[in-house]
């Protein structure tokens, strides 16, 4: 092999090696960090055609509407619990911390956390989007055609 070919060969090998390592690491890192999204109904009754239920201890995301009247606060700490639902059963969420500005009863939220009992989630993050019209798209899909407690908000075109 002439030096130029040899150099190209080295370069190619380096690229292949680099890519291989990268792909391996990516897959490894992905494995632990993909969080499936559930609606409360899916969490309780199972998700998809096979009705797969999450296992206790699984890290997941859940999105639904906060059931009015379900928000309970602890008297001495920032512990709070509330119920979420879409069309069917409700799911309990426990969270310790400060809720986002737009968190309120009847509002769509997304929580991220671990399943600690078949229908209880200990959340480490609660998100309410900075938009009053916001509802998690997955929840919106699940709730299509069903009346819900979403705050009524007219846009400008509607006002006029």
């Amino acid at each position: 092999m002439n030096p130029r070919r040899k150099k190209r060969m080295m370069a190619l090998l380096a690229v292949v090696f680099g890519l291989g390592t990268a792909v391996g690491l990516v897959l490894y890192a992905l494995e632990g960090n993909i969080n499936l999204f559930y609606t409360p109904t899916e969490l309780v009754e199972g998700k998809g055609p096979e009705k797969q239920k999450p296992f206790v201890g699984q890290k997941l995301r859940i999105g639904g509407m906060v059931v009015p009247g379900s928000v309970k606060r602890d008297q001495d700490s920032l512990l709070v619990e509330f119920k979420l639902r879409d069309t069917g059963p409700t799911v309990k969420v426990i969270y310790k911390g400060i809720l986002p500005d737009l968190f309120r009863e009847g509002q769509g939220i997304v929580a991220q956390g671990n399943l600690i009992a078949p229908n209880t989630i200990e959340a480490f993050e609660v998100l309410a989007k900075h938009d009053e019209k916001y509802m998690p798209p997955e929840v919106a899909e699940a709730m299509k055609g069903i009346k819900h407690e979403k705050p009524v908000y007219n846009n400008v075109k509607g006002d006029s």
Binding site: A11, V26, A29, L30, G32, N33, L36, L78, E138, V156
Partner: protein
Amino acid sequence: MIPELGYISLTIALGLSILLCIYPLWGAYTNNLRLMRAAPALAIGQCVFVFLSYAALVYASLTDDFTLVYIASNSSSSLPWYYKITSTWGGHEGAMLLWVVMQAGWTALVSISSKSLPWPLRARVLGVLGFLGVGFMLYTLLMSSPFESLLPYYPIEGRDLNPLLQDPGMIIHPPLLYMGYVGLSVTFSFAIAALLTGKLDNTWAKWSRPWTVSAWLFLTLGIALGSWWAYSELGWGGWWFWDPVENASLMPWLIATALIHSLAATEKRGVFKSWTVLLAIAGFSFSLLGTFIVRSGVLVSVHAFATDPGRGMFILGFLGIVVGGSLALYALRASAVSSVGRYRLFSREVALWFNNILLCVATLIVLLGTLLPLVHKELGMGSISIGEPFFNEMFSYLLVPFAFALGVAPLLRWKQNKFNALKNKLAIIAVISLTITVSWLYSSYDSVKTITFLAVLLAVWITVSTLFDIVEKATKQASILIGFKQFTNSYWAMVTGHFGFACVIMSVALTSAYSVERDVRMHPGEQITLNEYEYHFDGIKEIVGANYTGHAAVVSIHKEGEKVSELHAEKRLYNVGMQFMTEAAIDASLGRDLYVALGEKLNDGAWALRIYHKPYIRWMWLGGLIMAFAGLLILFDKRYRGASKALQKQDEKNIVSQPIASGEASS
């Protein structure tokens, strides 16, 4: 009346940019100088009309013209005048018009400052820019016109600007980012023009480099500012969330960073030519992809932009044309380009190569993490989210080889290097870095995690090796002062940029490891202690602003009995939209930030408070500023000004010696 004029101006500008797209390209193809010479005038005309159009929108906003859907949705009469101006880019339609303004501005700037380019190249560059202008203007006019009217029934009051955007940081954050995104289109046009001309030489690299650097500079500033804004405005003290919209700005930045490094190699050594062209195409493609992600709403993001699938399809189609067309052209032409330079395995070329590969891998990882949820959902496998830990983990893996090589690269020479010559230097630098890191970390903190240690070590490694290089090169001269003077701006830019990057690594590592974050329930009069600082919750007071009311928690902070600061953390309720906003109060310094944000009111008079202690966080944005400053240094390099003047003279001679009026002159 005025808004209609704005609409008409934009339509005229579209007409001009269609001409700008056709005339010069056709002229260059048929070698018709007269057609090519129309390009600069068209570019400037287009720019003037786009600016008029934008001025009309600003006027409408300032005069509270709620007959426009856009103004009625994004402004209100109680908004201070400066936010009325910024509200013109606070919503989707206005932001796109601002994009068009910048596209036209960059195009005009290129047409003015490209006088020294040979006509065929100049005409093609402007023609390609014209084509991009057509795409964006069509989009604005057809899919998202800010001049859409509500007549005859219109509201008497607007819906107000999103309170999140009522912040000085937000005034300049989007324009900076757009400047960067659009700036990359200039680099893209140079690459396409070079492919069309079939001439990819060092002059091309020399021409491309300042434009790429300025786009990169704006992106850097925009991203740093966005991060700072998120930290100070969103009220939860985070500075980067790996949100799709942030990723959309990070990808072009990573590619642009790779591009300025490979351009340096192309310019100085004539290597990596076709690779550089590919990066130039990729840079702008990622800008477009980012726009698609942000504007189409295919991905769920904390950025609440108005989204619309139709708009997404338009951008996707445009993206397809731009990427498909340019890659096809690349496939046809790039094979003819061969790089002349030769280099050995142990050389600066290979170090830059390494830099490029790692940056591209980083980009692909961000792309994967951003788009995988989308693909997953479209395949019917359910919605997923990819958490921050994935990105953090991947970026820590990449950082180690990247930062290590970054410390070595400046010491390497072009072409080839003897390892033995370098061995001793590297050993000295390693020992110094290790000593500094160990004594710094172990004297300040009780426990040090491996990852933190490694990251800080790498930051110190980069700094020490850079300083070592400066001193070594300077002392080769008669005196250090003379040595300093011989350095070019490019060299100083490299040194500064690398130092800025080291600051960012150091800050990210220390902030992530040693931040103390406490969410607490407090009654007025209570206090807590965090890292030697005593936070005393003095009480709550009512506040009234121009367009909001709310509460402020007064928290006084003491350290060793002395008062350090008094913070007023606000919770605002904006009158028009009835939206709550948290306005965090921060006592900032280079060593640490003390951060207090007010949460909700709890029963029996208690309040929820977030109290954070964030060490060295300022260095993150400072590092960003330093990197941007490095970009500025390159722009002021004599080489580019000198080179363009020399070329200009040459070109003038050519013009004199050529009959211009013949119309068929070839140059």
